[in-house]
Assembly symmetry: C2
Homo-oligomer: 366 residues x 2
């Protein structure tokens, strides 16, 4: 009814294209969210998410976008006045900081240049300098710059501390795509969003919550209601949610997780690595410059530097209208300076090749 | 894929059955939420919602369930320590109060017995007694008891005050079903949820926000981020949302609002009145007692008193398994004492007749 072409090449870093199985699931009839059938769906979803996130921690599915889960991560673990180390090198790192600040956290900012990665040693030094820090906010994959921060090494540094602060991670555009071990890496709170690697529409966000996070929760006084995990935990035991959940997105998530478990999380990570390598190689063959520090280039989104004489908005418009290829531009200081190609979720090489062929054609026609 | 029968008679007060047009819309391909096509969808949705709510106020679509919009209503208009009159006579009135309290409001409680309606005169007297009250929280339709509060009269009383407080209304299970005039009745903040009269799955909530609400917002210091309407307002002007919205629920909402505008809001209200009258009459013909005060019996949900010897849980189980009829039980003190029949959204008499025939059969077989 909206004339959305079935062959739309949606190459933005989320929302991502929906597999046919997911689309079919989304259109199933409505049911009661208090029924046993929904409970079975909830149980299957929670088990699948724990498998994909490599965790035995509680995993909650919130009806919200990823930003809501970022807020949930903050307000469920912290109190006003708590000292929070915030590493940021892009729009989403800054958003995490702004959320904590809005609820009264005392921010210790640690910025790195957009396009580069957070340095574990700098985080360690900042923790030494600020022993009162209660939590560290980290963005695993900074969608705005196409950088994947070295989370495993960051986690090692954070947890090497004598009185380790909580490690709270925005993995919205990495989880289910890029290597990530919640338990092995000691991540206390991890959030991710449905419209990224999870291959369903936006509207759900997932949050994994460790024992240390629960201990912090018991002391945390930031106000909360909709995102309160005490309420969620009570209902989790009955495979329900405290408030009416987005039932048909749960249908879609069930279908998507079946596909993901069939492929296997290691294979999913490998496929993202392979497609990302392919993307970066093709971009360089087109004599375009990559934006991110090569060592930390993201496997879910590639930021490409716009040639000085390129009108990025016009390129994106032509790609959409003539080729049904949708790319993203740059945020904030990067507007007009970069364009971004998403390669996460339901993606393989041919979609990238088609998108880049369209880019090449439009660049040649300037 | 979940073996949900197409003829499931989902007769709970939400989620409600999905029209075929909505189901088709929900399965459309994904798109960018920053595209012009999405902007057009957003614009059509906002216009349709304003028409259905009879308002020219800003209407925001939040990616959350109704409870999230209740929180948004509170945190966007109030400051910690503000005096708030809370009229409650059921689970959802109490929830609204709890949310305001969680964010530091100073509650003036005004309770009425479950099954009865809030009395406008009592609200007027409470406002006289507490001239410092900044806002009044009212539940238009109390889903847990099947009572519709006399909102028009309550609004008259609230707005007759010399320095009228804000009127903040939970219309989650009434808007789009029961007569409701946001502008004519001077409702400052009104919230409703997608899975009720709006005939789409849960996951979106709508909030209408008046000029007086904006004036209060400018002074309101309760912390907020995900639900902050300043951020939403900035994006509303571009027909976007600040955070990634539940795109496919917007598709569904577009389809549902086309159906609703075709029927016309007056006709929708009349149909709900007619189906509710029919339901109450049939229930009484079955020699069952209605729970709510007759004058205030809801047009979206009918609460039926369980005969003393009836096991409500067992009745509901049999209805589901043998007849594919889904009813609700009672909440809190009403558990086991009542059962509830939803008749809102995509409903007409035959679905009610089928549900009640099944109830009659099961009652006869005891």
């Amino acid at each position: 009814m909206f004339n959305i072409p079935d062959d739309l090449n949606l190459r933005i870093p989320g929302p991502t294209p929906l597999p046919a199985e997911v689309r079919e699931a989304l259109a199933q009839p409505m049911m009661s969210h208090r029924s046993r059938t929904f409970g079975a769906i909830h149980a299957e979803v929670a088990e699948g998410l724990r498998e994909m996130l490599r965790t035995t921690n509680d995993v909650f599915v919130l009806t919200a976008s990823g930003t809501g889960a970022m807020e949930a991560a903050v307000v469920n673990t912290l109190s006003p006045g708590d000292s929070v180390l915030s590493a940021a090198g892009g729009k989403f790192g800054e958003r995490f900081r702004t959320i904590a600040s809005a609820y009264g956290a005392d921010i210790v900012p640690l910025d790195h240049t957009w396009g580069t990665a957070a340095a574990p040693d700098d985080i360690g030094a900042a923790l030494d300098e600020h022993p009162d820090v209660r939590a560290v906010l980290v963005t695993h994959n900074e969608t705005s710059t196409g950088v994947t921060n070295p989370l495993r090494d960051i986690a090692s540094v954070v947890k090497a501390n004598n009185t380790p602060p909580l490690l709270i991670v925005d993995a919205i555009s990495s989880a289910g795509c890029i290597e990530l071990e919640v338990d092995a890496w000691n991540i206390d709170v991890l959030v991710t969003g449905s419209q990224k690697g999870w291959m369903i529409p936006p509207g759900l966000a997932y949050i994994a919550f460790s024992d240390a996070a629960w201990a912090a929760h018991a002391q945390a006084t930031m106000p909360r209601f909709y995102f309160d995990l005490t309420a969620a935990k009570k209902k989790l035991l009955a495979n329900q949610t405290p408030w009416t959940p987005a039932v048909n997105l749960f249908y879609g998530l069930t279908a998507a997780l079946r596909l993901m478990r069939q492929e296997g999380v290691d294979n999913i990570w490998s496929r993202h690595q392979r497609v990302a390598d392919h993307t970066r190689q093709r971009v360089q063959e087109m004599e375009l410059e990559l934006f991110a520090t090569p060592q930390y280039a993201s496997n879910t989104v590639t930021a490409v530097q716009a040639p000085a004489d390129l009108d990025v908005a016009e390129l994106r418009r032509r790609l959409a209208e003539k080729h049904r290829v949708i790319l993203s531009g740059g945020h904030g200081p990067l507007k007009g300076k970069i364009f971004r190609i998403g390669h996460l979720g339901n993606v393989s090489e041919p979609a990238i090749d088609a998108a880049l062929a369209a880019v090449a054609e439009e660049l040649a026609e300037r």
